[in-house]
Subunit: 248 residues, 2 copies
Amino acid sequence: MNNIRMIVSYDGTDYSGFQSQPSGNTIQDVLEAAIRSLTKEDGLRIIGSGRTDAGVHAQGQVFNFHTESRIPVERWTLAINARLPDDIVVLQADLMPPEFHARHSALSKTYRYVIDTSQFPDVFQRRYALHHYAPLDVQAMREGLQELVGEHDFTSFASPQSTQPSHVRTIYNIALLESPNKLELYVTGSGFLYNMVRIIAGTAVWIGEGKLSPGDIPAILAARDRTLAGPTAMAHGLTLWQVEYPEF
Amino acid sequence: MNNIRMIVSYDGTDYSGFQSQPSGNTIQDVLEAAIRSLTKEDGLRIIGSGRTDAGVHAQGQVFNFHTESRIPVERWTLAINARLPDDIVVLQADLMPPEFHARHSALSKTYRYVIDTSQFPDVFQRRYALHHYAPLDVQAMREGLQELVGEHDFTSFASPQSTQPSHVRTIYNIALLESPNKLELYVTGSGFLYNMVRIIAGTAVWIGEGKLSPGDIPAILAARDRTLAGPTAMAHGLTLWQVEYPEF
């Protein structure tokens, strides 16, 4: 049995998220169908590093699967891309030791959230960036975001629908990069709760608008109350940027 | 009668080109419908700086129109964008002197052609870049492209369907910018024949692949024979970047 890891990028616009669900139209469904058409293994399932919501994109989502197929690993990328629609592209395939597991082995993940600050939306970024034209205090946003770094209970930054037993997570790094007409928020953490990065982005926008101040963040974290943080920013600005693993 | 100039960007993927045609689904049709819904002038027509082909994009296409409407010019952008689909965005509106004409007044135009040189296509650029993964000799491409600068008869670089009385045009500037996994070709000229930038891009790729050498270009120009230049590169990599005008 071979354990194959793939890195995949996708435009999530037209999908109901990564993970399979009864109503279909997920990235996982499309990937599994493409792999099964190659291996003829009807029961083959893939293991994603985690789910992404409907409309969320990925630059470097990671998944693995076990197969009896004899297809050499270096042939996999071309073979699977030939069977995928053009909004899903496998970038890399590697043969891994049996113990590699895309979710359990992950050390951390990095997400990117993009805000298009042009007066009128950049038509070429409309599927990948939140359009927000209004003065934003970027320095205040950075100060507030730094308050999130470290180990915290992120209940205030999670959807009330979250069913996780613990809301304690660690954020290792947050960076807010400013370029003409664009803000890019990169967040690296041990793991993320449902809607967590989108709520962080929405809260950062509220800080930028002066609706919250950077000094409010510690109290918002401490309250463990979703209603105190900012809004859940729209899905289409979010991209799962990469998933970090130890050496195997 | 006011003469209003607008700068518009569009994602041409889902349109049959800029200019109105009997089969419909053009950028011009959509713009005219939006403007007419504001001005209630049934016969209103817009004058574009020129056509763009089906699937070609624009960062800064320019058009003008004459209207009796009293809408203040500073209100136009918001008003029209509210009536446009999200793949067409008006960036600027200006009140111009009566003699301004988007096509006749243009001094030059700049087009961009993007080549995605990644091994596997960048999913976020798939609508805006030609994917071409194979070693390209960028220095040779630049040398060959420089042979096109100046005034030439560009018959070898025009679709045989061109009905222009003269194929003499002037290219003022060509630049080929290289960045990781991307080549961007910018061409500025007095005007362009049907498919001309796409044939220049396709010829540049052939030079990059060694199928033509930079020194072949003068003879290809001199022969005035379309069959000697490279292929017509796909439309989706092309963007009308900007249109240059004198001060008004």
